[in-house]
Symmetry: C2
Subunit: 131 residues, 2 copies
């Protein structure tokens, strides 16, 4: 698979998340998906995302840029949102915040098999402290 | 420049850091370097790294994996080290800690021009809390 093809699949994945099309998630996420070193499987992946949208009703994934070298995609994601209550153990409580996520995906059989994500939680803490 | 060439340059950069070869840093870092959205230039970049090694005398950059698509490199870096005192506003005080950094580099004229880094500070906090 070419890098351009894999980028296109990844953009389809992000579009699937933003539409909250959970029945289509299996087209992009492997049955045996792993997340930050732990096995979660497709069902765990879906539960994680559903919980994210419950915590952040206006959640939207925005791709700042991609770096693609099959079988991996690296993505910088930007978020501008208003989480309802506690997020990452911080009392956001409906404040509008911006933060970034630098995340790596390894694909297998055309689907996301292993994710290594770091979210900039310190940026959120700084925004809450500044209020 | 091919992806393989850029990966090789990046590995040379990491080797330069691990040797603390500050006189050679300009071979890898652009005079007008930017870091997490701010201009720091080559001299600011060198000062930042020198401060990192003062805070973490046994600092060593370990590449877990690279994703390379010119002009960008994405790298997952792993650290296993014993910072002396305060690190990222946390009292590490000589404890041995492990953490990761997911970082993007954009190259210009064969040198690092723009960096977007997120360090997993929450992992460090969790290790300190568990002691």
């Amino acid at each position: 698979m070419s890098g351009a093809d894999l980028s296109e699949i990844y953009r389809g994945y992000i579009d699937c998340l933003n539409r909250q099309d959970w029945s289509g998630l299996g087209d992009f996420v492997h049955d045996d998906a792993r997340y930050n070193g732990g096995y979660i499987g497709l069902s765990g992946y879906r539960k994680m995302l559903e919980a994210d949208f419950r915590a952040i009703p206006d959640l939207h994934f925005n791709i700042a840029f991609l770096v693609c070298e099959p079988p991996r995609v690296a993505s910088r994601l930007l978020f501008d949102c208003t989480p309802k209550g506690i997020l990452f153990e911080m009392p956001v409580n409906g404040k509008r915040i911006q933060f970034a996520e630098n995340v790596f995906y390894e694909f297998s059989e055309g689907r996301i098999h292993d994710v290594r994500s770091i979210i900039d939680k310190a940026a959120i803490a700084a925004q809450l402290a500044a209020v």
